[in-house]
């Protein structure tokens, strides 16, 4: 089993829950922010010494729960500060970005890191579409076209133009081109439709926000079935799952600190995001009727008032002593048949030293028992 260390880079100093979307930035203190970025990057670099296989960054806009508007900026630092660990950008929001710029920045990270990029082609959650003023209804079409265009940017040997539905470029020839030909691509597979697209694209399937192991397993099966229909056979390394994770010396301590950190995450940091989801639904997108297994439906299930034990049981989190987390990971891997797990360990307002301690416990007391799964 391979493991990633994921850091959302949340803002941990919010005085009280904000009430509206977008969160006013008057409460962001840039002086504190500078120290936070520094400490967060230190944690990501530390992941290499802790035996993680990749570090992961992602992109969110106007959000105190994740302060990376462009994860490639962090990725470029990590390309220099680390030596061997994979750099998972999970990722750039393709429908909201200039695909050529995405191809260029990803290629730079791949070259600077010696071919260590894992390129996330993400579609983004609904509130990002408010932030960047893009109609949510276009997101799937834009995602599909942008993904093909980025791949062309990486692999075409001659300058080329692109005449598409959403993107038109007359003459493209990116410098640099990536070391990997092409870089490994990761796509969200959080519902049946996106699992299908990931398989058709021969991308690594990635799933976070798991609320039910059986539902997640169904997505994995869809991914495998569609891949076979498309003439290829995914390996276990193509199936990546994510879970929020807290490891302490004892179960009691882990349960206590994680419950508090998750309360801060959901009740404070995420509140404006939930409000934005309601606005997107109110505007006619992602209605309850259409939601099915889509983001807001799953999010509701994940954040519904559950106990730590219930969340562990559902596969949403790993939490406890090294021994308990080892058992939780074993069960999770067995149920889902995944070859990689992304551990999101910087959650809410968890103190950074506690996250670092959890990483060290993972390295010393969990990883030796789950590496060969």
């Amino acid at each position: 089993m391979k493991f990633g260390f994921f850091n959302l880079m949340p803002w941990p100093h919010y005085p009280e829950p904000p009430k509206v979307y977008p969160t006013p930035n008057r409460d962001y203190d840039p002086e504190i922010g500078q120290r936070l970025y520094n400490d967060y990057v230190d944690l990501l670099v530390h992941a290499e010494a802790c035996g993680f296989d990749w570090v992961a960054c992602n992109e969110h806009h106007f959000s105190p729960y994740g302060t990376m508007a462009n994860c490639n900026l962090i990725g470029s630092i990590l390309a220099r500060e680390t030596r061997t660990i994979g750099l998972a950008m999970i990722g750039n929001l393709l429908p909201l970005s200039n695909p050529v710029r995405v191809a260029e920045e990803y290629a730079m990270i791949d070259v600077m890191s010696g071919g260590r990029l894992i390129a996330g082609f993400m579609r983004g959650v609904p509130h990002e579409y408010i932030a960047y003023n893009s109609p949510p209804a276009e997101s799937r079409d834009r995602q599909k076209e942008a993904a093909e265009l980025v791949m062309k940017c990486w692999t075409e040997p001659e300058p080329f133009g692109w005449e598409g539905q959403h993107y038109q470029f007359r003459s493209i020839s990116i410098w640099p081109r990536p070391i990997q030909q092409p870089p490994r691509v990761l796509m969200s597979a959080s519902n049946e439709e996106s699992a299908t697209v990931a398989a058709q694209s021969r991308a690594i399937m990635a799933m976070g926000l798991i609320h039910d192991l059986k539902a997640a397993r169904a997505n994995v099966e869809t991914y495998h079935r569609v891949a076979r229909e498309c003439g290829w056979e995914p390996t276990v390394d193509h199936v990546l799952m994510g879970a929020s994770t807290c490891i302490c010396e004892t179960d009691a301590e882990a349960h206590d600190v994680f419950a508090s950190a998750l309360d801060y995450f959901h009740d404070t940091l995420m509140k404006p995001t939930y409000d934005a989801l309601k606005l997107v639904a109110q505007a006619g997108y992602f209605t309850r009727q259409k939601a099915g297994a889509s983001y807001d439906s799953r999010l509701d299930k994940v954040v519904a008032r559950k106990s730590i034990d219930e969340m562990i049981e559902a596969g949403s989190i790993f939490c406890g002593s090294p021994k308990s987390v080892t058992e939780q990971i074993r069960r999770f891997g067995r149920e889902l048949g995944c070859g990689g797990i992304n551990l999101s360990m910087q959650i809410g307002n968890l103190p950074i030293p506690m996250v670092r301690k959890g990483m060290d416990l993972f390295h010393a007391e969990v990883l030796p028992h789950v590496r060969d799964l």
Binding site: K152, P157, F160, G161, W162, E163, G164, Q165, Q168, S171
Partner: protein, 261 residues
């Protein structure tokens, strides 16, 4: 005026000229600078793209001998010979000045020979997935000819004409995996050329566009998203957008211009 042509009502005329002492049919439409169209091995189909092009161009599409129910011409036996015949048609019907040329698939292959051997005929070229450039197997699992076959169903000729088209295509050597003459001809073709390849083309390999971009001295390559081999049928509006820009501005079409967005 609108005329009946192959059981379709279109805003084009079917006319007859004399080329090398024999009658030669051609289709003409529109007003503006002349555009010589060399059709695919599917014959002289009046596609939605040609309709769009005729809004700003005077389109001339000769019915290549053996296609569209016409007779083969003695002495015209290969693609080079066909290009010679096209040059004669062009001089007879359009005049002496060089004109812009658009060739689709097999017509693109003919256009390359025309530009190489009759450089004085050709001003600028647009080639849609030209055949004969690079041999390569079809890509599995993709549409064979059209990404949207329903768009083509009213365009295609009757079975007998389609069969004759295929025989003519074979007679000219069009079914060969690649055209042995082209590699030597390409470096001598200096006319500005735009090659358009559908991203779903499963007939002509993508390497063909790359090869032309590398070996033609003045070539631009553009991928037409969500289009198969018959790109002008699958995505006529998109193709018109980029073609019009290139035909009007030449290589300077890479400079963004809202008039062509």
């Amino acid at each position: 005026m609108s005329v009946i042509f192959e059981e379709q009502v279109m805003s084009c005329e079917k006319l007859v000229a004399t080329v090398a002492g024999r009658p030669a049919s051609y289709v003409r439409a529109g007003n503006g600078p002349e555009l010589l169209v060399l059709h695919t091995s599917g014959g002289p189909l009046w596609t939605p793209l040609l309709e769009l092009l005729s809004t700003g161009r005077q389109v001339y599409m000769p019915v290549l001998p053996g296609f569209g129910g016409s007779e083969m011409v003695d002495g015209v036996n290969d693609v080079g010979g066909l290009a010679d015949w096209v040059a004669a048609f062009k001089h007879e019907v359009i005049g002496e000045s060089p004109v812009d040329v658009f060739g689709g698939s097999f017509g693109g292959q003919v256009a390359l020979h025309l530009a190489a051997n009759h450089a004085d005929c050709v001003e600028t070229m647009v080639l849609e997935a030209p055949s004969g450039v690079v041999a390569g197997p079809p890509t599995a699992g993709r549409p064979t000819l059209f990404a949207y076959p329903e768009k083509a169903k009213d365009l295609l000729p009757d079975a007998a004409t389609a069969k004759a088209n295929s025989e003519a295509f074979r007679a000219y050597g069009g079914t060969a995996p690649s055209d042995p003459m082209l590699a030597d001809l390409l470096p001598g073709i200096h006319q500005p050329t735009l090659v358009i390849m559908g991203t779903l083309d499963a007939v002509v390999p993508a390497q063909s566009g790359q090869y032309l971009a590398r070996h033609l001295p003045n070539c631009k390559l553009t991928y037409l998203y969500d289009a198969g081999h018959g790109a002008q049928v699958d995505q006529p509006e998109r193709m018109f957008r980029v073609m019009r820009h290139f035909l009007d501005k030449g290589p300077a079409f890479i400079v963004a211009n809202r008039e062509y967005a």
